[in-house]
Symmetry: D2
């Protein structure tokens, strides 16, 4: 059967991880390798300066001490296990990963690190809001449906799907939409504070609201009750500018 590696960035104790594991267990052989604590905002960071430790939490669940999501997937597919995995599913993240969020998201990074495996990688996030119901079961069911579809009808290698699920009962979803990433406004300013000894410290502020949240974007889909599914690429080349940059480098105006 298909071997799925599960990870996340909220840490191994997170509710979303538990639901994801339960949702996929009937479909595949699942192994969890997850960080020992919340690593939201970890992006694709890899731990290079110190070695990592792994402890078994239970059968098929391993925890990487001080590990990032990328560390977890990297270890899992680069020698920690004897067998190969077929795909990575990451999440279910507590909170949206929309637009620019994907640059910083550890959930998406875990999926990206699975790009070398045979089947598509999926990052799943639940678009919670203050007071929303935390319908992880909805997101778990969507994850299972996508995995089944991938098994039946595989996408090209190295396709990474960024999936955002509205925080609603499954029956209230309007459907799934293929979307492009929108953009956010700049973040809120940093928050100055003081430690109890009177010394200044600075917190990174909340992300900005959606700026390009128009038709076709992931922001728009979830705002209207759709599951947003965005195919991601890991080639960051801005191909459309290659010729311009070539001219510009040769001294002609771009």
């Amino acid at each position: 059967s298909v071997k799925i590696l599960i990870s996340n960035d909220d840490g191994y104790r997170a509710e979303g991880l538990r639901v994801l594991r339960e949702s996929l267990a009937p479909l595949a052989e699942v192994t969890v390798v997850a960080p020992d604590r919340n690593r939201s905002g970890a992006s694709n960071s890899l731990t290079l300066d110190v070695p990592l430790r792994v402890f078994p939490y239970d059968t098929d669940c391993h925890v990487v001490v001080s590990g990032t999501p990328t560390d977890c997937v990297h270890l899992a597919i680069s020698g920690l296990f004897e067998h190969e995995h077929d795909m990575v599913v990451s999440g279910i993240n507590e909170g949206a990963n929309l637009g620019d969020d994907v640059l910083y998201s550890g959930t998406v990074a875990a999926a990206i690190e699975g790009r070398f495996l045979g089947l598509s990688a999926i990052a799943v996030s639940l678009v919670t809001r203050p007071g929303s119901g935390q319908h992880y079961a909805t997101a778990g069911r969507i994850a299972a449906e996508l995995v089944m579809r991938i098994q039946r009808s595989p996408l090209h290698q190295a396709t990474i799907l960024n999936v955002n699920v509205p925080d609603l009962p499954y029956e209230e979803l309007k459907g799934c939409k293929a979307t492009r990433l929108g953009y956010r406004h700049r973040s809120e300013p940093i928050v100055r504070s003081e430690d109890p000894r009177g010394r200044p410290v600075y917190w990174v502020g909340p992300p900005g609201v959606g700026q390009d949240a128009g038709d076709g974007t992931d922001f728009d889909a979830v705002a209207n009750g759709y599951v947003s599914v965005t195919p991601l690429q890991i080639d960051l080349t801005r191909h459309s500018m290659l010729e311009d940059i070539g001219n510009w480098l040769r001294g002609r105006e771009a």
Copy 2:
């Protein structure tokens, strides 16, 4: 005059940072905000769980304690200073940032975090090899030339240039090439080791060699003595697959 924010991922004491600062000082008003130690591999990670501290190292050089490159640029452009900066230049990284490296690179991440500013962001890396000469001065001169060109002939907003400079004397460079990112093979396997108490630990292994290193790639350019200049985008949407994914989600084969 133009206000340039300088950062890096090798930490504020790095030789590459010193050279970059000296190279740009004649052209602009420069401010350095850099991590307090080596944060290679930090990618776009943002520190969200704890607040950050900043100490002034000297005039116009500020150090963020335990900060990532993204933290540094984020703080600098989100409220740490009263004035706005015009652009970010990041580096000079000790070692190449080619192909998939850009996903993990803190140097590139610092430039990406500067995407909201008025002028292009630049990430500069020196393609050192064991025994190579560490020609930071060459990379510093290239950085200065690019900054001058951007001042004279600005690129579109939000363009990020990933620049890799061969580790050669300036006179031996063949020129500059606009390139696309190549791809690397999968990383080397993780390295198992033991602590002195006999417990297993795992090191992340070295990156793989270039797999797609053919014509037009950044790998190819630097291998042939050219400065590689790759325009980056921060929209990770794989636009070419949007229609396929739409069909696939509606149950038709992709």
Copy 3:
């Protein structure tokens, strides 16, 4: 009933903590506040540069993210809870805390941080050896006996008991002995190693063997199958030298 605060330095998932909790639950109202991972060697270190986060693991068990043992006890008795605790019991540590070990031990530090409470603090360690049976139940029973005795017959305020239990079935223990701390030889040298990129790193080596392990010491007691109980003080003044130092400062020979 008596309110006991339990902590440790091996982290909240440690077997020794679980056994200690179960052993004391019948005797008292127990609350666990423990680090989220292994913090062996943490000594009395307090986290002053960043704020701490606490998450509830289950009823009566709270976990301090990135917290030291001292952080855990400090938070617990300095405002995290509305009620006061009567005493701290720390452990059961995996491995001995004998002689100089107490200077570095997080297990002992957790007990020391409880010195302001009404009843004695106890640090419990299991003297495991490679291949020994890991008789945590033995240590749990000893801890319970000591707590019962303290309830019945309290010691002076601020007495801290450092308890080391041989790793044997309870029936094979020879009894309990009041002991003084022995001394260890200097540690083994540091262990030089290399990361996969060829850069040097250094591991702290294992502790030295017992140098003063003679009659009356904790080393001697456990080697002979006794539970070692050492009363600790937190006044580090070397009173016997006060006069000498006074003379020495006045320029007379010490």
Copy 4:
């Protein structure tokens, strides 16, 4: 000539370290091994879970990345260098280390870690107050005088001196006093705060004021303009209670 190892807990860039180094350089061959950042509150903590990195800052100054004061001295005397050192001098700490402070102090811990060397170890702290003048030069001169006295008239092996210097011009000092450690009241309560996402965090509060600050204590000496010199021991056994504890363990009332 005498070989002195200098360390501190405020990090290698601290003013106090610089002054200490300059004060002792005329008297001895000095080597600095210091943490890369502020590690106040580190106590005797040793880094056991990851290996340490060391970088040379300048001739005779080495910096331990993410190292504690104890790590620094441990590395320095356990194999980092080919030669042996004769004594450790630690500081000059920014702020007092009086009474219970010594349990948590990284400055004192660095001195304690030097207990195996041939000559006495010294921890030096400047008793700064808000608005006080930061007379590091005063403390540096006192440190030099004590080192000279130790060279001329050595104390018993393993004597550790905890020295607190009033923040005054040297001429205004009243002299040196041999003191015992006083006690502090319990710390201020923890300080509850929130991160910008509305989640609770807790800061460790400031230390309590001196409770036992009477005649003969270190608190009293510095309050009256004297340099306080407290001989410390590293044997934490409460010898005066050994017999009581023995009786108590045998079931007789203590």
